[in-house]
């Protein structure tokens, strides 16, 4: 099976949005399933090694709630988030609110996930719409691809500069 890790992209289509894109070598029915069935979601929505998802509840219907809790087994640290589905269009579109328990940005964000058929492959586009530019900038400096986010770039430059000065 072919994987497309190089298709991974993060960008900022507007000043309140962040867009994550990735292609998958599977029909969109399967990708949609993998995004919406708890027993599947908890196997992959884990980030780098060391996290598990002890709570993964999804009530897949407009008005239905979802709840995720991640746990880092080595430290016992937990992180939770959840929200409510606004649109569920199988197998092409999901719209849901998003709020972290310990939110580091103001307000609630709205996630729109689209699953686009690309000759048997699937392009996933995940857009997070924040309540304000400030909320987005605070929440997501990171998720941004190098070169797209001025703030992140500058921070990286600054860190590199400081590393250079300290080493020299």
């Amino acid at each position: 099976m072919l994987f497309y890790p190089e298709s991974f992209k993060v960008s900022t289509p507007s000043d309140r949005e962040v867009l994550v894109e990735r292609d998958f070598n599977a029909p969109r029915e399967l990708v949609f399933e993998a995004f919406t069935k708890p027993e599947l979601v908890r196997r992959w929505l884990l980030g780098p090694d060391g996290w598990t998802m002890p709570v993964c509840e999804i009530d897949l219907r407009p008005g239905g709630a979802y709840r995720y809790v991640w746990r880092k087994e080595s430290t016992g640290m937990e992180m939770g988030m959840g929200g409510v589905f606004r649109e569920v269009v199988r197998p092409e579109r999901l719209v849901a609110t998003e709020k972290f328990d310990d939110a580091w940005y103001p307000g609630e964000a709205v996630d729109t996930t689209t699953f686009e058929d690309q000759a048997g492959n699937t392009r996933v586009r995940l857009t997070v719409l924040y309540e304000s530019k400030e909320a987005r900038d605070t929440a997501t400096r990171s998720g941004m691809e190098r070169g797209m986010a001025a703030g992140y770039d500058r921070l990286e430059q600054l860190v590199a500069e400081i590393a250079k000065v300290s080493a020299g």
């Binding site: 599977a26 196997r43 929505l45 780098p48 998720g143 400081i162």
Partner: protein, 120 residues
Amino acid sequence: MQTTSSQLDATFAALADPTRRAILARLAAGDATVNELAEPFAMTQPAISKHLKVLERAGLISRNRDAQRRPSRLEARRLAEASAWLDQYREFWEASFALLDTVLQELKTRKPPRGKAPRR
């Protein structure tokens, strides 16, 4: 006591300003007093002091309370922590999608798409 997220919040808010980033870059070359910092930025001392207060609250600099000149010092660790956190955030989706590839591969083997021969 601040939580980790509100610390990050303060750090990112502090870093959002170009003058404050320039001050940090200047401090990377060595400690400096308000006067020394005010010079290259063509800013008044009170204006620089205001920026220094924000940076201090964010944990990005410290100031020697005892010394008369109260030189500012870069707290590189705080900056490194913020940077490491950013990398983790970005890594989250990349790592998750790599796992998703594997899950999808399994699903495809279990449920071959209509009209196509199952993969062996």
